[in-house]
Structures are given as structure tokens and as C-alpha cells.
């Protein structure tokens, strides 16, 4: 019962806000939307505690029948296990905080019922995605969150740019969805089920020997599903939509494009980890794509001026880490990074949102600076967020990111390059995040007089959630302390053991993985950690020295010394331009051809021709229509009499 309420409340909120209470004031819609989510969070928490108290065994909750055709079955069943329970808490918990915050952020808008309705609907869809026990229910959620993302990116749809950004997100995601759909089709073709629990049982049961065809199919299935994950989780080469998605309101960026929706790909891969374990080639591809994306996005972020763009590329980069973690088989590390990232990236986005509100919706960091004295609370929480993301020892990012890098190194010799890329990306991360902090909060204020006059700390509705998130960002790292560090009273690798029942290595490859884990000495782990911390420290110091007072001499000279590289980075490697001229334009030309020639001339010609032919024939025979009701009735009666006569005699 409680479980169903989790799903019910956000849907109710969306329904009420979107369809019933459209005329109410923004405050009412805010309270409605927020309380729906808080109620869902309370239910989720209770459900989760109940679930843990029950031993934390995965359970399938039977809903209603949905699609049944022959052997194909896709009921609305839901799975509650340690993974989905955790996601449940992240989505509803962080979602609640962001909802509270959004009330402050959106309070100048007029029709916020739309905003909160979409946001609640998003949460419902995300819950569906996370809780679904089969690929199809997950796909509904998958598409639903895509839809809500589209609607929210284009929330200020009067501006063409925002509408275009929404469209871009939607279309790029379509490419990924094709992969996902292919994955579903292939899964059903080779395993005759789309249910996670059945699939897991089939793969893991020792007796079930998969035949060669199925092993080969797993490679393709995982690859296809990974394409889907690439789309949703913004990996190369489908990441281009995420930076543009920042056109939406900042709470949306925080909730959808940082904390929850974009992690769907990682969630999906973790959910199906037993399949990915059986496909080493795919894992190699996954790890490579993740590492490359991490570095690629991080380098772009080095030179961006828009505060939200920096965070967007940072998100892409961090998602790359998580994907890297999945690729090297360290799913628990990936999910753990997902968890910590959800906390600190939501914090960073919301902090940036506060800055943007204070700056009257200016987002260019060149016009900021010195905000520390105007916004002390925001500064403090942003500082914690930045330290967390760059992996400052003791904060959450340190534990989660290092775990991924360590697992990448130990994943096997073939993964050392990926480790290198990841470590380099970490260096870049600390540079651009410190740069962001410096340009925003330190140095002299560079904004115009009018803006400067109105600079002030935001309301408690906005900084309250920030403080909660800051505490979370600082603290959650201690859930997964690596086993070389001993903190009294804390169990090492708590989180990893927590996820053990979900991460299930198939018996065929189990030996290989257990073997890998055993062989590395502790000193190596210390060394890897030292490398990361040193890189972080050096690049942070570099950034501080370069940007401590706006764009210093070093920054400018560096920019002019590497003019070419700077230009390439500023233009984001010309990826958008490349896509535009080699994919979008040819497609548009082809569509023009299909429209103007095939559709209008040929198809319409045939359809209209048929209609006109009938008009012609009808016109020729219409002289028999007298228009008299009775004549028609008589013809009918005579016809019936004739028919009956024939029937009887």
C-alpha cells in the first residue's frame, strides 16, 4: 500500500497542478507540488526502512497486466531491491529539496502550475523507470522522463532558442532510444522474457548453459542498450544535448540534468550488470567511451564563461566517470559516484541558480566576482560543493571518484589508458571548478552598477535546501571508505557490500573477477590516491593563482600563447558544427525532398486522385438521387422484401 502511494503522490500532484488547479497562484502550485513530493519521500523512506528491516531481499511487487501476446508478457510489475530502493530515496529526497528550492527560484513566474506539474510528472516517470521490473516498464519511464525533460527545457518556450534546445534534446535522445528498443527486441528474441528478475535468474542459474548464439547475442544486446545509455546519460557522441539543455530553469538542470534523469543510463547498466559482465568487448567500449567523455567534456569546461555551461560540461564529465566505473565492472563504485554526484551536483546547480537569481538572470562569469561578501551562505555551500567534486580528501567526491579510478587501474592491464584519461580529467575538473569558484565569489565585483546595488543573499526557501545538500555532500562519502583507510566506528566499503546482492557476476566469469581483486597490494592503492590528490592540488593552486582576481595576467598570456587550442576549446571542438553540416543538413535536405516531391506530388496526388475519381463517378450517377426520404425508404423496403423472398423460397 505504502509502495503504491510513492507512485501515486507525484502523479496526483501532476494531475492537480496540470489539469485541475490551473488558475491558482504560484504559491499554491508550489506548495501542492512540493507537498506531493515530500509525501512521496516519506512513503519511500518508510517503504525503504520496512524493506531493510525485512532483510533487504529483492521483491517483485505485482501490479496489473499490461501487454500479453503469446509468450510475450510485460505486466506492470515493480522491483524493490537495494538498488531501486536507493534510487527511490535519491529521486524523492533530492527531488523534494529541489522542489522546495524551485518555489523561491520561480516565484516571479506567472504560470508555475505548468512547471510544477511537469516536475511532478517527471518524478513519477523517473520512479517508473527505476522501479519497473521489466524493460518495457522501464522504457515507459525512459520515454516519460525524456518527454518531461523536453517540456521543461522548453519551459520558456516563447524564446526560440529554448524551444530549439528542447527539440535537440528530444531528437538526440531518439537515437539512443532506437538502441534501447533494439536491445529490448533482441533480449526478447534470445531470452524470451523482458523481465529483469527472470532474466537474472536465467543467466545466473548454474544449470542454464547459454548456447553460443545467446552469448553472441548478449554482446549485441549490451551494445544496443549502451547506445541507449549514451543518449540518456550524455556520453560521446550523443552528449551534445546536455549543455544546450541548460536553457531550462536551473532547478530543472539540477534535478533532471544532473541528479536523476541523466543517471538513468548508469542505473540501467547496473540493473543489467549480469549481462554486461558476459560481454567483455562491450565493457571495453563502455569504459573507453566513459573515459574519453570524461576528459573531453572536462577540457571544454576549462574555458567556458557561462556558469551553467561549466556545470553542464562538468556533469557530462562526471557521467563519464560513472560509465567508466560500469565499464570496468565496478558497478557499485559507479552507483556510489552517482549517489555522491547527485548530492554535490544538485548543490552546485542550485548554488549557481542562487547566484543567477541574485545577478538578475545573468549567467556570464566575466560579469560576476566578489560575491562572497554579498552571499555568504551561498559561498560557503558552493565551496563545500566544489571541494566535494574536485575530490578534496575527506569529502564525498574524494571517496567515490578515487574508487572508480582505483577500480579502473585494477580492472586489468587493458584499462590503464582509461585510468590515465580519467586521472587527467580529474586534474581538469579541479582546475575548472576552482576557476568557477574564483571567478564567481572572489576578486572584485565586475557587474554593472544597477546589478551591484541589488546583490543580496537569497531567501531561506532557497538556501535551506542548499545547506541540507551541503551537509549531504560532505558526509555521504563515509558510506564507502576504501579499505586502506581506517576510521574508528566505520565499516569499510559499507556501500559496496550493501549492493552485493544486486551486483551478480555470472558463474562463467566469476573466477576472472575474483582473481583480479586479490592481486593488488595496498601500497599501489595509496600511490593511485596520492597521484589524484597531487594532481588535484596542483591544478587547484594553478587556478587560484590565475583567477584569484578576475582574469589575471597569467590567464590572458596563457590564452594568447595557445590561441588555437583556446579557440577550439571555446568552440567545443566544433562538434555541433560538425553534426550540423554532416548530419543535420543532409537529413533536412532529404526531408525536403521527401516532403516536396514524394509526399506532395506522388502520395497526395494519388490520394486526391482517388477522391476526385469517386467524386466524378458519384457526380455521374447522382441523377438517381431524388432527395425524397420516402423514395429512399421505399427502395429499402422493396429490397428487404426481395431479400426475404430469396431467403425463404
Amino acid at each position: 500500500m505504502l509502495f503504491w502511494l510513492i507512485l501515486f503522490f507525484p502523479l496526483l500532484g501532476a494531475f492537480l497542478n496540470g489539469l485541475v488547479l490551473r488558475k491558482v497562484s504560484p504559491t499554491v502550485s508550489h506548495i501542492l507540488g512540493t507537498s506531493a513530493l515530500i509525501a512521496a519521500f516519506v512513503c519511500a523512506l518508510l517503504t525503504y526502512l520496512q524493506f531493510l528491516a525485512g532483510g533487504g531481499q529483492a521483491q517483485v511487487i505485482t501490479g496489473m497486466e499490461w501487454i500479453e501476446a503469446g509468450t510475450f508478457k510485460a505486466p506492470f510489475n515493480f522491483i524493490l531491491d537495494r538498488l531501486s530502493g536507493l534510487m527511490l530515496l535519491i529521486i524523492t529526497g533530492i527531488g523534494s529539496l529541489i522542489h522546495i528550492y524551485a518555489g523561491g527560484y520561480m516565484h516571479e513566474e506567472k504560470a508555475t502550475y505548468r512547471f510544477f506539474s511537469y516536475l511532478n510528472l517527471f518524478v513519477f516517470m523517473m520512479l517508473l523507470l527505476v522501479l519497473g521490473d521489466n524493460l518495457l516498464v522501464m522504457f515507459i519511464g525512459w520515454e516519460g522522463v525524456g518527454l518531461c525533460s523536453y517540456l521543461l527545457i522548453g519551459y520558456w518556450y516563447e524564446d526560440d532558442k529554448n524551444a530549439a534546445a528542447g527539440m535537440k534534446a528530444f531528437l538526440v535522445n531518439r537515437i539512443g532510444d532506437i538502441g534501447f528498443l533494439l536491445g529490448i527486441f533482441l533480449t526478447f528474441k534470445y531470452f524470451h522474457t523482458v523481465s529483469f528478475s527472470e532474466l537474472k535468474q536465467m543467466i545466473l542459474s548454474a544449470g542454464a548453459q547459454l548456447n553460443g548464439e545467446q552469448i553472441e547475442a548478449i554482446g549485441w544486446i549490451t551494445l544496443a542498450l549502451f547506445v541507449g545509455a549514451c543518449g540518456k546519460s550524455a556520453q560521446m557522441p550523443l552528449y551534445v544535448w546536455l549543455p544546450d539543455a541548460m536553457a531550462g530553469p536551473t532547478p530543472v538542470s539540477a534535478l533532471i540534468h544532473a541528479a536523476t534523469m541523466v543517471t538513468a543510463g548508469i542505473y540501467m547498466m547496473t540493473r543489467l550488470n549480469f549481462l554486461f559482465y558476459l560481454a567483455p568487448t562491450t565493457q571495453m567500449i563502455v569504459a573507453s567511451v566513459g573515459a574519453v567523455t570524461a576528459l573531453f567534456a572536462a577540457t571544454i569546461a576549462l574555458v567556458q564563461y557561462d556558469i551553467k555551461k561549466v556545470l553542464a560540461y562538468s556533469t557530462v564529465s562526471q557521467l563519464g566517470y560513472m560509465v567508466l566505473g560500469c565499464g570496468v565492472g565496478a558497478y557499485s563504485a559507479g552507483v556510489f559516484h552517482l549517489f555522491t554526484h547527485a548530492c554535490f551536483k544538485a548543490l552546485l546547480f542550485l548554488g549557481a541558480g542562487s547566484v543567477i537569481v541574485a545577478m538578475h538572470h545573468k549567467q556570464d562569469m566575466r560579469e560576476m566576482g566578489g560575491l562572497r561578501k554579498y552571499m555568504p551562505v551561498t559561498h560557503l555551500v558552493m565551496l563545500i560543493g566544489v571541494l566535494a567534486i574536485i575530490g578534496f580528501p575527506g569529502l564525498s567526491g574524494f571517496f567515490s571518484k578515487d574508487e572508480i579510478l582505483w577500480r579502473a587501474w585494477t580492472g586489468g592491464d587493458q584499462y590503464h589508458i582509461q585510468w590515465g584519461l580519467g586521472a587527467l580529467a580529474a586534474v581538469c575538473t579541479s582546475f575548472y571548478m576552482v576557476r568557477l569558484l574564483m571567478l564567481t565569489f572572489y576578486g572584485k565585483n565586475r557587474s554593472d552598477h544597477h546589478t551591484q546595488e541589488h546583490l543580496h543573499e537569497t531567501s531561506v526557501v532557497m538556501w535551506g535546501p542548499l545547506v541540507v545538500l551541503a551537509i549531504l555532500s560532505a558526509a555521504v562519502g563515509y558510506l564507502n571508505v576504501p579499505h586502506i583507510i581506517h576510521i574508528p566506528g566505520l565499516t569499510n566499503l559499507l556501500f559496496e557490500h550493501y549492493l552485493d546482492p544486486v551486483i551478480s557476476i555470472p558463474p562463467q566469469v566469476a573466477e576472472h573477477w575474483h582473481h583480479l581483486h586479490a592481486e593488488y597490494p595496498q601500497s599501489l592503492e595509496w600511490a593511485i590516491m596520492a597521484v589524484s590528490v597531487a594532481g588535484m592540488a596542483i591544478s587547484s593552486l594553478l587556478a587560484i593563482s590565475m583567477y584569484s582576481n578576475g582574469f589575471g595576467r597569467i590567464a590572458n598570456s596563457l590564452g594568447s600563447a595557445f590561441k588555437g587550442a583556446h579557440r577550439v576549446l571555446t568552440n567545443k571542438y566544433y562538434v555541433d558544427e560538425f553534426y550540423d553540416s554532416y548530419i543535420v543538413t543532409p537529413l533536412r535536405d532529404m526531408s525536403q525532398f521527401l516532403w516536396k516531391v514524394v509526399d506532395v506530388l506522388i502520395i497526395d496526388g494519388i490520394v486526391n486522385g482517388v477522391g476526385q475519381a469517386f467524386m466524378l463517378i458519384g457526380g455521374l450517377s447522382s441523377f438517381r438521387m431524388s432527395g425524397s426520404l420516402h423514395r429512399h425508404g421505399m427502395v429499402m423496403v422493396v429490397g428487404i422484401i426481395c431479400m426475404l423472398t430469396v431467403l425463404f423460397f
Partner: protein, 100 residues
Amino acid sequence: MVSINHYLVLATFMFLCGTLGVLFRRNLLLVLMSIELMLNSVNLVFVSGSRLLGNLDGQVMVFFIITVAACEAGVGLAMVIALFRRYGTVDTNFLRILRG
């Protein structure tokens, strides 16, 4: 004892009256009334059949037919009124919009 044949013959006669009314009366209202007559003859068949066979489905069917007849009369009369407003007549001799 009155056999079912009696009822059937009576129903046939009513149906004949209804049919002729539909075919030969020029007043749309009369046409609608004739249709009611036909429906009633069918109802009679249903009820007598229900009694003969000891099966209540026939009576339920009559219930539904009465429902449909009510709807038909409501919509039909609304159309008659709309027609009268537009053309000032309900005589089918003058209502030949569909003439080819």
C-alpha cells in the same frame, strides 16, 4: 389459451402500419411516430417470446429498446426543430437537400 401466434400476427400488423407510415406520410413527426410504432411491435414480439420461452432476456431487451427509443425520439425531435427553424417546414416534399 392465447398462443404466441396471436401476438406475432398482431405485431406484424403493427409493423405494417409503422412501415406504411414511414413510407407514405410526408410529415417528419409522423414518420418518427411510425418508427415508434414499429419499435413497439418488436417489443411485443420480445415480451411474448420471453413468456413463451421462459427467459427474461427478452424483457431486458425491451428495456434497452425503450432506452434507445427515448434517445432516438429526443435527438430526432431536436433535429425536426432545427429543420423547422432553418427551412420553416417539416414536410419531406420540401426537404430535398440531398437531391443529386
